[in-house]
Amino acid sequence: MLRFLARRSLGALVIILLISAITFLLFFALPSQPALMSCGKNCTPDAIAVINKNLGLDQPVPVQYWHYMTGIFMGRDFSVGHCPAPCFGYSFSNQQPVWGTIVDRFPTTLSITLGGAAAFLVVGVGIGMLAAAFRGTWVDKFFSSLSLVGNALQIYFVGVVALAVLVSGLHWMDNPAYYPITRNPGKWFMGMLIPWLVLSIIFIANYSRMTRSQMIEQLGEDHVRTAKAKGLSRRTVFFRYAWRGAMAPIVTIFGIDLGSLFGGAIITEFTFSLHGLGRLAVSSVNETDLPTLMAVMLVGCTAIVVANIVVDAAYALIDPRVRLA
């Protein structure tokens, strides 16, 4: 298992490095003029020169990339001051090192992602199992149609309806907001509840349908029939034999979903006026704040890669054959 993890981590590192280089180059391939865009309407050529120098845009691209990458581990000095490690660059639009902004926004994204993912995984898989266990009955039909409805909905619709009903209409809850869990876990939970709820409504559909079909498939497999024939209890057969087999593909999909949520649930954040990495990405595109955008992309990529390693490990636990691959 350790060797498996080590191998995966090394591969991940290479991927992250590659992504960082590609992202970096992509920005320079684009016809954008960061200095001009951050200069405002009364811009002068002098001002552009100053910004270019400050951003290091007058140096060759590979040199800029080298400085960027070494800065992450060793910190960097800008003409506007020192940027301590991990230095993901200096935002001239915010006038501060990028890392501080990332650290400020990441907990919101983490909260949305982990809470939402836990909710939709548990409820989605639960519903799918129920439907599979009671295949063909009204339970199955009810949940199947429900998930179909969920699948057809979008966050910006469900989110607004949830706010209109739960907050503005019934006054059951406050507006969603992020409070640090370290300061007030209760407030954190309540503040995040609606986003989790809405995220799970959207995602549950996929998970329940997939779980249902996987379970039904597994329940028809030879080893399950054998287990039944051995006289094992229905519960043991269902959970230990069928469920375990059904989970493998679901875990794979979950890894992908989790990763993309880590990169920032943009629509969710906009719907609920939350400030996570997604909104930061949009606003930095907006302001041509390349250093911030780079950092968000790198953090997002890293999160996706890490989530995939974790999922791979889980996969390996569920299905020992994977370790050999």
Partner: protein, 612 residues
């Protein structure tokens, strides 16, 4: 003169000064449909503008409402707001992140509103519930004294004014504040004073290329501080409206020891009733009481609430929903510039309890359709266009009465000296006077004249283009529509040699004196690529008249002259037709009192707000 309201796509129309307008389009590109709702046109519902039917804010924008205050008017404390209480936290919901906190960089309405809480300038605007606006001394004892025919202006600082650390504010600090505007990083603020002191365009920067940061200062023949209390400006030419220019947020003190240059944008050192406690750029700003601020020195601001917690990223539907639901902490919440979302207008109007917590007022921003006089040389054709223009239908597409008011002449009702003249009968015929237009076109022998009509490819303008095209074709024109990418629209029409006949433009004044409107829009000597004279009017008589009025030393006497000149241009030269005046429709939580309209910035004023 600076371009004040470059052509914003209608998406951000309710905040025409917003620098975010081009960026809004960029976000839309970046994030697809999700932010389209974010940028959808603002403006709201029908009016309770002073309870009058004739138009929102009509009462508050009469010429007689503007005056220069006396020394007594400039003396604090500000008159108490009836029923005001101390304490509590005021929440502020804003759509866009503040681009700047540094007063030197502030130009747009959301930041103008915000800085009123922590920043004071030499002069400022004091206004009452009836909308009477007085220009008074803020840090200065009065609105300044001129000599030398208006070329020299002297301001004296009040006693007892202090920075947030308790150190007294001296004329040296004001000098520093002005000299730092010469530094290369200070690019976004208005540049009237530096330009008047040291030269037009960007030439002024040569007078002090590094700002005050390398030990150099402006000579006393330009900017003089003979003692700790006195500041003397020696302008290159007479400027009767200097006290208005010194009311811009960047003409105030900055303490040299606290000037972190670019980083000052994150931590401005307060001179107002509140100071920055916490700032997360793009997310939130917390202002707390500044105990060094002395109300006796301030004729405008109060310090009722303990804190202001400003949070950004709230789209118009989100803020409107919260204000409508009016529960929990949202009861204590307002917005400087978020308008009522158009789709919720009716709901707001139908909910009786909103009546006492909303306003609908005219902003100092005007929308025009400019006529390119280099291509449309026959004045009869231009007059026919002016008659045919369906102002009412255009406004309807923009969101109807809550979004704006039909314009009848070039000047906004928010300008000093404004008169509701209506040479083309727009009030009587909001859909355009087709018969008159047709007749004029016939007289000119130009029936079937082809018109190339350029507009930005936003949703709203695609709709507006349809009503304009139909109206012009009814009058006998043939219209060729030219859609231009919203991001490049402004630079396309600002090219002098552009290939279009008519196009939308817009303009907002920096202060309610029309010297900030007529010269940039209609002075033939200002025709240049990127300039604002979109109609390319170059009439020597007009230019001469502009010079004459600019030289009138009394702003109040000049005001009616500007209106006369604007009307003459509209009647005789017709380089364009005004279509509508922008409105601001604001709503706030029921537990707040003292929320008022600030007519100069066109925003909700936070300085007298209290928690009930």
């Amino acid at each position: 003169m600076n371009p004040l309201t470059p052509l914003n796509p209608p998406a951000t129309r309710t905040r025409p000064r917003s620098g975010a307008r081009l960026r809004a389009a960029a976000v839309a590109l970046a994030a697809g449909a999700l932010v389209l709702s974010a940028c959808s046109s603002g403006g709201g519902g029908g009016g309770n503008g002073g309870g009058k039917d004739e138009g929102p804010g009509a009462d508050k924008n009469k010429a007689s409402n503007y005056s220069i205050g006396t020394k007594a008017d400039s003396t604090g404390p500000a008159p108490e707001v009836p029923g005001a209480k101390k304490g509590g936290t005021v929440g502020v919901l804003q759509r866009d992140a503040f681009q700047h906190l540094d007063p030197g960089q502030i130009y747009y309405s959301d930041m103008l509103a915000n800085q009123m809480l922590y920043n004071r300038s030499l002069t400022s605007y004091k206004f009452d519930d009836q909308g009477k606006v007085k220009l008074v001394g803020d840090l200065a004892t009065d609105a300044g004294a001129s000599s030398d025919g208006g070329k020299t202006w002297t301001f004296t600082l009040k006693d007892g004014i202090r920075f947030e650390d308790g150190s007294p504010i001296t004329s040296q600090d004001v000098r520093w504040g002005i000299e730092r505007l010469y530094a290369s990083f200070e690019t976004e603020g208005p540049q009237y004073i530096p330009q008047w002191l040291s030269g037009d365009g960007t030439a002024f920067r040569k007078a002090l290329p590094d700002g005050p940061y390398k030990g150099k200062h402006l000579p006393s023949s330009v900017l003089d501080t003979p003692d700790d209390k006195t500041i003397v400006f020696h302008f290159l030419a007479p400027h009767a409206d200097a006290p208005f220019a010194t009311a811009m947020p960047n003409i105030g003190p900055v303490k040299a020891a606290k000037d972190t240059q670019q980083k000052y944008d994150n931590a401005p050192f307060s001179t107002g009733p509140y100071k920055v406690a916490d700032y997360k750029n793009g997310k939130s700003l917390t202002l707390v009481r500044n105990d060094q601020w002395d109300p006796k020195t301030d004729p405008i601001r109060h310090q009722y609430a303990d804190r202001f917690e400003i949070s950004v990223g709230h789209q118009f539907p989100d803020s409107t929903r919260r204000f409508l639901a009016d529960q929990g902490s949202d009861k204590n919440t307002m917005s400087y510039t978020n308008a009522v979302a158009p789709e919720m207008t009716q709901k707001v109007l139908d909910q009786p309890d909103t009546k006492s917590r909303r306003f609908l007022e005219i902003q100092p921003y005007v929308d025009y359709i400019s006529f390119n006089m280099d291509r449309l040389k026959d004045v009869k054709v231009r007059k026919a266009l002016a008659y045919a223009m369906p102002n009412g239908q255009i406004l309807q597409q923009m969101g109807g009465a809550p979004a704006g008011t039909i314009a009848t002449n070039y000047l906004s009702p928010a300008m000093d000296g404004y008169k509701p003249t209506d040479p083309y009968g727009k009030k009587a015929k909001p859909a355009g006077d087709t018969d008159r237009a047709r007749q004029l076109l016939k007289e000119a022998g130009k029936e079937g004249q082809e018109i190339v009509f350029a507009y930005a490819n936003t949703d709203t303008w695609q709709k507006v283009a349809v009503v304009i095209t139909q109206a012009l074709e009814r009058a006998g024109f043939k219209v060729q529509k030219k859609e231009i990418d919203a991001n490049t629209y402004r630079s396309a029409i600002a090219e002098v040699k552009n290939k279009f006949d008519i196009y939308r433009s817009s303009w907002g004044a920096d202060w309610p004196v029309s010297s900030t409107v007529v010269p940039p829009l209609f002075d033939g000597r200002q025709i240049a690529d990127g300039g604002q004279n979109y109609g390319h009017l170059d009439d020597p008589a007009v230019n001469k008249e502009i010079d004459r009025i600019n030289a009138i030393p009394d702003v109040k006497k000049a005001a009616p002259e500007w209106q006369k000149l604007a009307d003459k241009i509209f009647t005789d030269d017709v380089p364009g037709v005004p279509t509508f005046y922008n409105n601001q429709f604001s709503l706030w939580g029921s537990n707040l009192g003292g929320v008022r309209y600030q007519p100069v910035y066109g925003v909700a004023d936070p300085t007298g707000v209290y928690v009930k």
